[in-house]
Symmetry: C2
Subunit: 365 residues, 2 copies
């Protein structure tokens, strides 16, 4: 069987998600028949690999080849020029969390280059960038998909878009949107059994690799706020930025002046009494403490922070570092549509990217 069409794939980033995506892309190139997938560009922080004539790069050996003999990293505008000159349609897969690349999405899209990404920044910075991105996609007849920007590979973005696009009325979105926060609070405020102090819980999570290298990047709540910004905008709220609504910062005021992650971790025990108090308050009313985000559509209220949940509430029953997201809508009525599972990890995040690629391929005539 001959392939009906050829699609160029450009990949930026080969970290945890990016390297998993390259494996999935290699598998996909062999196992789907709808298009011939041709890798024409791979870039990491160290350099880039591409051929002036857009000849295929072998996907399986691309990363070691780049490391051995990649050229200097081109500027973003040179990358756009290169990709816009390709003989077939191009899909850029941005597996970085770079703000600079996100800022350039409108330029890529205007030039007809479709974008797939788990990069939250493009969709959670200024509302202007959000509008520019989707307008540019219209202008360039290009597509932009970002399933993995919320809940990794779980069908969160696609489900919300379907609810809206089929005319349902979303009334409330609520959930645990961070694998790190999920792990921390499932450990710190369990439904039964003993738990350690807050600072010990954070230390353990860091050692197990559940936090960013600097745990303050999780504890400030910005990651959750970015996800809520994306969900709220998709649901129809013109949220200006992830700092334009209340976000509870779990870096206590006294420790905000810490210069290093080490200093912060060594002083975090000063916050233990406060956190213990919050947990006891929950326990006294038979509840547990969780770090959640919610969007109330009728009022436009978005908030992120600690809340208390009854033992029977699905949010209280989370395990490990799972995420849970509930959609309350007019059609679903009193009981929400709820999706639950791993919301972080290289392989499941890359799977969301790969699934988006399948959607884009199916729409490329």
């Amino acid at each position: 069987m001959t392939h009906p069409k050829q699609i160029h794939i450009a990949v930026i980033g080969a970290g945890g998600v990016g390297s998993c995506f390259l494996s999935q892309l290699a598998w996909l190139a062999k196992n789907q028949q709808s298009a011939r997938l041709s890798l024409c560009y791979l870039a990491t922080i160290d350099g880039a690999l591409y051929n002036r004539d857009y000849a295929d790069i072998d996907i399986e050996t691309a990363l070691p080849t780049l490391e051995a003999k990649g050229s200097a990293l081109p500027s973003i505008s040179d990358t756009i020029e290169y990709l816009a000159g390709a003989p077939h349609k191009v899909v850029l897969v941005d597996n970085t969390s770079s703000g600079a690349i996100a800022e350039a999405y409108p330029e890529f899209l205007k030039r007809g280059i479709s974008i797939i990404t788990p990069n939250k920044k493009a969709f959670s910075e200024s509302f202007k960038l959000w509008r520019d991105i989707f307008r540019a996609a219209e202008l360039g007849s290009s597509m932009v998909y970002h399933e993995s920007s919320v809940g990794a590979g779980m069908p969160i973005i696609s489900t919300l878009k379907e609810l809206v696009q089929t005319g349902d009325e979303v009334t409330r979105i609520e959930g645990v949107f961070s694998g790190t926060m999920s792990f921390l609070f499932n450990q710190f405020s369990p439904k039964s059994g003993q738990a350690g102090k807050w600072s010990e819980t954070v230390k353990k999570a860091k050692e197990l690799g559940y936090t960013e290298p600097d745990p303050r990047d999780d504890l400030n709540g910005l990651d959750v706020a970015r996800k809520l910004t994306i969900m709220g905008r998709l649901a129809g709220l013109p949220i200006e930025s992830p700092t334009s609504f209340p976000v509870q910062n779990l870096i206590p005021g006294e420790l905000q002046s810490c210069d290093t992650s080490e200093e912060f971790m060594s002083r975090l025990h000063e916050f233990d009494d406060h956190m213990e108090g919050q947990k006891l308050l929950a326990e006294r009313s038979g509840k547990v403490l969780r770090y959640v985000g919610s969007i109330e559509m009728s009022t436009g209220n978005v908030k992120v922070g600690m809340e208390m949940f009854d033992h029977m509430h699905p949010i209280a029953t989370l395990k490990g570092s799972d995420n849970i997201i509930s959609f309350y809508t007019k059609r679903y009525g009193e009981l929400p549509l709820t999706i639950r599972g791993a919301g972080a990890g290289g392989d499941v995040t890359a799977m969301g990217v790969t699934a988006d690629l399948l959607k884009v391929l199916s729409q490329m005539g």
Copy 2:
């Protein structure tokens, strides 16, 4: 803005799901810009409404117009001829549960007519029909989508397809696939509090409209078996039919000879002691009774029936008539990807159909 393309929509069935779909279609025709949706055919058991020249039928008044002045229902082959002669691409939306129409899907598809349906029969009868349907779609370059055949509007089919198509390895699928069974067992075997006898629970469910007009159509387990057949096939198992694996029939042997639903309901109390015994067995080990289906991919084992679940298990925490479906996969690891919510009801089932229509539209160049 001018519409870039016109798509003909043919709708069969205007019952609970079909009438909700017509409302959603009317909304969609006004609120999306990707295509001009033109209703060219509407059929119910009473007759059909269509114009020889394929002129638009007003969606909002279609049903009363059909009732007032519809013509006789054409044969299936005449319907295929009519639709295949349309000047634009055609999507048939089959909102019936008709086996005869399901049998004709390959003919529609071969003639280039795409199909969207919640009709389980087409995908859960013989494995031959299943293969014929997907081969015919390839031959006819047509599409076939059936999200609402399992879990109504919830993203169950699309999620399973994505897991498979991105190269994940599904190891186990488990869940409560029937709103009726969910309601019956959540009432009959609650986590706490008193519950009535089995026959009373069934009677109450029937009165509240949670069962089919004849509750035996739920209690025989065939509806769940059909859904498991569809899921298993999508995951890669060549399941021959919904009767080719063990399905626990909750119509007791002694009552299988009942002629009428009334006779069955009046004698169901004879089964109360047996069901009470099953429930007590569960309670003695601190568990509840639920009616579930599961697919074990490594062995190919598919089964449907009553099982006991620990109070903490997500299946034990279901409420109302909610469905829950868990996907255990290699990438997701120990904790599954779980989707939970309303798995029955006209509006949410129609929403799955409408969402499929959006997918088909996005792929029609």
